[in-house]
Amino acid sequence: MALLEIRNLHATVDDKPILNGLDLTIGGGEVHAIMGPNGSGKSTLSYVLSGRDGYEVTDGEVLFDGKNLLEMEADERAREGVFLAFQYPVEIPGVTSITFLRTAVNAVREHHGGSPFDAMDFVKYIREKAAGLNVSDDMLKRAVNTGFSGGEKKRMEILQMAALDPKLAILDETDSGLDIDALKVVADGVNAMRNEERGLLVITHYQRLLDYIVPDHVHVLAKGRIVKSGGKELAHELEESGYAEFLEDAA
């Protein structure tokens, strides 16, 4: 059984069709990249999968670990193991990062029958995860993403991913706003989490990120559908040729 199976997915935003019959299957341990021009539906796909309000599925189905993902609320999907790394992580003044992380991790642990961390144990747990990502204690004490640089925000996203240990991680334009050094730190963090079970869906406009997080499969999304699939070399072809042919094809 595949980890994620998307069949004939149609979705609208404000009654405007964005996804128009998308099919995609991701197996455990696989890294899939979705590339596409602006407006092709990349971010919509990430929000539909993570269950954001306002993204209406009008047809098709999504099975996650054999369960109907679309029937679950956003928070339940997350507890079941779907993680979205945001393109623009949200600043939440007044909530410290450590409290936020602990609340989230405990919600997921309790969902799976585990016992929640107390404050002391959690500090140990999160410090271990944070070390490799260059996330300082100071960042953990600050309010969530508040006043963080672009690089800090993305590192915090990856820390959340590491802490929550999802089955499927969706990375939405994780490279945007990062210089090459920050990109390497983030990519190393993601690569460290690759294993036999975990699925990764990397959504990006540019091929650059895929030099560091090397995918097993690359798909081209245009006008709300997968129009071409291939191996990692497809990313390089796209870098050369651009997306023009797909836009024309679809038009």
Binding site: R52, D53, E73, D75, A78, R79, V90
Partner: protein
């Protein structure tokens, strides 16, 4: 509608009835003060919608119910207070039950020399001359009709004098318990605080209600800060559902004084905190902050008037509220900068979070500026929880109701973080959490 004469008469009658038997009666200035209060209230009547400061809060409840002045303090014990850390804090404690001092519940041992904390009534009897320069001197009776009514009843309350240069080692905790019995019961407490030159103190007020019928608590506080004095003033207003809580405070600030006020209101059918601050000396610094929580059909009102009369003063106001159900919040704030008050730095901000489509906020921040070299700002926002923030928390597996509570607490935390006394800040936070646990649950839906 309470439209003056008809409905105010029962209140005025009660004041006039008892006046000749009250302590201090026969002392000319006290008689004159009570009479001035009765006259001002008699002329004005109960506040009406056309009164500038009463546009959004109507007192029909006072017209509909025959509140009777409390007669003595019932022998109830000290209830366990909802805020634990402050309760455990070492303080000088004053306890009023139905406005009357309960010496058996007070704890004033170890007060420094030249500090007096006493019942107002006792001081009126023992040393009225000490009160004369202060009592009733800064309340503008014609601008505060309910304070005028309180003045007509002048007797109960707290008197506190802190001598020049003395900084109190412990906060003074004023616990005000209203025990309405079968009700409807009325209390008219009057507090006076006089801070000498360079004196410092913290005053914490707790307002709670014992079991019983409806009650009407009409409190007035007069605070005099001589040059260089500093007063921290924290108020927990947690009265019961059937309570009308009206509080009017006037603070006169000398040169280089600091007044730091924080009011938490979550109780009462009507809860109103009205603060008038007069910055009369250069270098004064006035902070008026508050947090309010309302549900059901509660009305919570914060009204402020800050008068910059002297140059080089600073005032800051931040009021934040959370309104659920059909509750209504009111913020009316006016910063009035007189012509000579150059280099005034005055800011005010009202922010309300509406958790239900039927909740409402009326916010009216106002600046009136006659000086030409000032830095002033005001603002008001009202809205729902931010969708992006909520989705961010949900996407991390945090259940919806918990996510909402976290965001609401975060919204209020910014204001509470400004409180300089840690125990008060923590108790405020605990109170907010308890309120959220009770009011923001599954039954509340999507808000």
């Amino acid at each position: 509608m309470p439209d003056g004469s008809g409905h105010m008469q029962p209140y005025l009658d009660q004041a006039l009835e008892g006046a000749s038997n009250l302590v201090g009666s026969g002392v000319d200035w006290i008689d004159a003060l009570r009479r001035a209060g009765a006259d001002a209230f008699g002329t004005h009547g109960l506040p009406k919608r056309r009164d500038e400061y009463w546009r959004y809060t109507n007192l029909n409840a006072l017209a509909d119910e025959a509140f009777r002045l409390a007669n003595g303090a019932p022998a109830i014990g000290l209830p366990s207070l909802p805020h634990k850390l402050v309760a455990e804090l070492a303080t000088y404690r004053m306890v009023l039950v139905n406005g009357r001092l309960r010496p058996d519940l007070c704890a004033l041992d170890g007060l420094p020399d030249d500090v007096l904390v006493s019942g107002l009534e006792d001081l009126m009897a023992a040393a009225p001359a000490r009160l004369e320069p202060y009592l009733g001197r800064i309340i503008r009776l014609n601008e505060m009709p309910m304070a005028a009514l309180n003045t007509a009843f002048l007797r109960d309350g707290l008197a506190m004098f802190v001598g020049d240069g003395i900084v109190l080692d412990k906060p003074v905790h004023l616990i005000s318990i209203t025990a309405p019995g079968d009700g409807p019961l009325m209390v008219q407490p009057r507090h006076l605080v006089v801070m000498g030159k360079g004196a410092g103190a913290t005053l914490i007020e707790t307002h709670v209600t014992a079991e019983g019928g409806s009650s009407f608590n009409n409190i007035v506080a007069e605070l005099h800060l001589d040059d260089g004095a500093k007063l921290n003033h924290f108020v927990f207003q947690e009265e019961a559902e059937a309570s009308v809580h009206l509080s009017g405070t006037a603070v006169a600030m000398g040169a280089d004084t600091t007044y730091d006020s924080f009011v938490l209101q979550s109780g009462g059918a009507i809860g109103r905190s009205e603060i008038h601050a007069y910055l009369n000396g250069t270098g004064g610094d006035c902070r008026l902050d508050g947090v309010y929580l309302a549900s059901g059909k509660q009305v919570v009102d914060n009204t402020t008037f800050v008068e910059h009369a002297a140059p080089g003063c600073r005032s800051r106001q931040v009021y934040k509220g959370v309104l659920d159900g059909q509750s209504r919040g009111v913020f009316q704030g006016k910063v009035h900068v007189l012509r000579d008050a150059q280099q005034t730095d005055g800011h005010q901000l009202s922010r309300a979070l509406l958790l239900s489509p039927r909740a409402e906020i009326d916010a009216r921040p106002e600046l009136e500026i006659y000086a030409d070299d000032v830095k002033c700002s005001h603002g008001a926002t009202a809205g729902e929880l931010d969708d992006d923030s909520l989705f961010y928390l949900l996407s991390r597996g945090i259940p919806r109701e918990e996510a909402r509570r976290m965001l609401i607490e975060a919204f209020l935390a910014e204001a509470i973080a400004e409180i300089p006394l840690e125990q008060v800040a923590e108790d405020f936070t605990t109170h907010v959490r308890q309120w959220l646990a009770q009011n923001v649950g599954n039954a509340d839906g999507q808000g």
